[in-house]
């Protein structure tokens, strides 16, 4: 990665700019209610655009089947658990636990069959 330092500098500036912009005394304009409404959907949209491909396309990397993919099963289990529990940490630990158990289960089946 030849351009790493340039990438690091640019990304540092961009993230700081977004966090600092309205703290600046020289910026006098306000965000309109429409812009605020559009921005309020950024966090859920970004995060979903990142987790959905992992859960639904994760089986492609491990050359497994879609329906038995640990990514899909553990992902659906995490979604179900997040509807029942509001504790973020508990949901993450539960999801990782289901995923880990499925991986161990599939690995042991594979070693028994071979």
């Amino acid at each position: 990665m030849n351009n790493f330092w340039l990438a690091l500098l640019g990304m540092t500036c961009i993230t700081f700019f977004c966090r600092f912009l309205f703290f600046s005394k020289t910026v006098s304009f306000e965000l309109g209610p429409k812009v605020k409404r559009v921005l309020s959907y950024t966090a859920p949209s970004v995060m979903t655009a990142m987790w959905v491909p992992i859960v639904f396309l994760g089986h492609q990397d491990s050359s497994g089947d879609f329906i038995t993919s640990p990514f899909l099963i553990a992902g659906m289990a995490t979604v179900a658990f997040s509807l029942l529990m509001k504790n973020t940490l508990a949901v993450v630990v539960f999801g990782m636990g289901v995923f880990g158990l499925l991986k161990i289960f599939y690995n042991s089946i594979q070693s028994v069959l071979s």
Binding site: L8, S45, W51
Partner: protein, 246 residues
């Protein structure tokens, strides 16, 4: 003189209390991002960064989703324009947080404003807003103590990922990748409280799957935009009622 000392000690001890509150409140949220930090560290090693470069990303950029997206791009094509544009789109939600805190920090000196801005994250914003709602006032001590706690845990977990990434090859295949999915599911699903958020989540998820087939580099940005605008265009029931009342 004695009374003045009493006042000073009192305000110091109340600051310490607020500081402890901030640390305790953000702690569970910070722990939930530990697997994610480990992933950022190990993935950086996998795509060929040195340990120092990997750590500097967390020390300076300090934005999990943006770092992860950038690492994925570095691992595939690695164009700066794709990296910068995805960083901007992912970070644009901080513009909103910055606008919300604006009236509370505007009169503070530049150094304090820069520091609060640097430590402004989703998690710090969430706990500070909850604190503001409860106490009816903004506290820079609270914002900074929760923000710095989060920063430390984020960087320690990145470091752990860097160390692990050097000794355990293909660490990300052990399922750390799933940690991102689990973290985001745990944050996003409970935040769906109205129809427009649901529409924005479903449309960005569907387009992310379809777009990742033929738009590798820009799939994340385009899917995010689609999600934002579909959410924006959806009227929530409450607003419909207001409109029909007019």
């Amino acid at each position: 003189m004695p009374s003045r000392t009493v006042v000073v000690t009192e305000s110091v001890s109340s600051d310490v209390k607020i500081m402890n509150r901030g640390i305790v409140d953000i702690f569970p949220l910070a722990l939930a991002t530990v697997p994610w930090g480990i992933l950022c560290g190990s993935l950086a090693i996998t795509v060929g960064l040195t340990p120092l470069q990997a750590q500097l990303m967390s020390l300076l950029i300090f934005a999990g989703a943006a770092q992860l997206a950038a690492l994925t791009i570095m691992g595939s094509v690695g164009s700066l324009s794709a990296m910068f544009s995805s960083t901007f789109v992912i970070s644009s939600r901080h513009l909103l947080y910055s606008a919300v805190f604006r009236e509370h920090v505007r009169k503070s000196p530049l150094g304090l404003r820069c520091t609060i801005a640097f430590f402004l994250t989703d998690e710090m914003f969430a706990v500070t807003c909850a604190y503001m709602e409860k106490h009816k006032s903004f506290s820079a001590v609270y914002a900074l103590s929760s923000g710095i706690t989060f920063y430390l845990i984020w960087n320690i977990s990145t470091f752990a990922g860097i160390v692990a990434g050097q000794y355990i090859p293909n660490l990300e295949h052990l399922g750390l990748e799933f940690a991102i999915a689990a973290t985001f599911i745990a944050i996003v699903i409970p935040s769906i409280k109205n129809r427009s958020t649901l529409v924005s989540v479903v449309s960005s998820g569907l387009s992310a799957i379809i777009l990742s087939i033929f738009l590798e580099e820009y799939a994340l940005i385009v899917a995010t935009f689609i999600g934002m605008f579909c959410g924006y265009l959806t009227n929530d029931n409450q607003q419909n009622k207001e409109k029909s009342n007019e």
